[in-house]
Amino acid sequence: MTTDPRPIPIRIANQRAYIWDVDDIAVLRSQHRLCGILAGTLPHLSQQNVFLGVPLLLMPEEVVLLVEKKFAVLVDDPKAHQAPTAPQLQKWEEEREEFAKRHIVVNDTKINQNAATRSISEDAMRKRKERMERKAARSQQPAPVDMIPEESPAERAEATPAPDSRPSTPSSNANTVAYPVIIESASSTLEWYDTSATTYDAIEAAQAAGIWSYPSNLSERARCGVFRGLWEQGYFLGGGIKFGGDYLVYPGDPLRFHSHFVATVIESPVATLRPMEIVAHGRLGTATKKSHLLCGWNDEKKDVSYLSIEWAGFG
């Protein structure tokens, strides 16, 4: 993979940071040593949570690091969706109809072929063909511009001449032919999706715009500082909940390596530390072949100091 100077768009919605492009996810992992967590489930298997896909949910510390290093920009995703103009909407609707028509034709051809092999009567074949032609003729009528595109083309064509004031339900009509509706995971192909006014290349700017708040206090600054400090030494970092810490520290990609350290963030050099914490962290780490890292953040000097804890092996 070649180095891409284009900053990766991180899409922010409700103070959470998502990556929607798999190529961006690959760049993050292979070039920037950041993994995030895949959070999207599969449309057909929405109940399972083992094999997850896009979007990638980033830790706030990862977001701050990426923006500070100029590897990424923050995009206010909800605001980037502007109201489409009438021509834009019409074009989108036409493309959608074109897609649907293509699929209906393909489907019908398949059905015809199947029918031929099953030797359905000539009569049925003729009727089907007539139906197809009627449908094609209807679809070519231009769509009204102000119409909200919620119905399928077939539905709409039927709804217009219906004498009944109630809208017809698709299932009640034998003429309706199913076609797939594809919902894109990314909005970037939509003409009215414009990120130019809603992109921020600095954390402060995003904070001022009210879309992002991290880091807003000492505890969050400490976490960002420690995350950055460990990352700059070449480590991969993951969430530390499984081992009772803040981060797990990996010497390489977590898919290839076990973590060597469990790290906890300590907000200041004078923050209270209880000997019981040293015992608990130290013993768990030793039992799992990891050292425990106490990562002390100094908010005045903006630096991190590290202490490693292990059971002594005697006493």
Binding site: Q233, H260, F261, I266, P269, V270, A271, T272, L273, R274, P275, M276, I278, V279, G282, G285, T286, K289, K290, S291, L293, L294, G296, S305, Y306, L307, S308, I309, E310, W311, A312, G313, F314, G315
Partner: protein, 118 residues
């Protein structure tokens, strides 16, 4: 109390740092009589308001430093850093944590990011 063989070594520090006297006495006796360290000396560790213990484990070349503390004390990273500095910056310091029932546990605290042993 005065009859205990360790008493005379410890007494100057137990008068100077009475709050740390208990854990020092416990750690010193454990190191000398239970762990059987040799060349054991007691050092003043002024910034931590206590004394530290330095000695050599059986069959070991280098000396090691032990800082006693009780389980109920509150310490900090700065406190640990001060201990390192006062002990002439050894790569590691052993924290001897004592509890009221006189049990004791030692933890190795190393400066920097030190990989776990294989």
């Amino acid at each position: 109390m005065e009859a205990h063989p360790s008493y005379h070594l410890i007494s100057p520090f137990s008068t100077k740092y009475p709050r740390a006297a208990g854990s020092l006495f416990l750690a010193y006796n454990d190191i000398v009589y239970s762990q059987q360290w040799t060349d054991v000396e007691v050092l003043d560790l002024e910034p931590c308001s206590r004394a530290a213990i330095r000695g050599r484990r059986p069959n070991a070349e280098s000396t090691m430093n032990v800082v006693p503390c009780t389980l109920s004390e509150l310490i900090s990273l700065e406190w640990l850093e001060n201990a390192f500095v006062s002990l002439d910056n050894p790569p590691e310091v052993f924290l001897a944590i004592t509890s009221e029932d006189s049990s004791i546990v030692y933890y190795k605290i190393s400066r920097g990011i030190v990989k776990p042993p294989l």
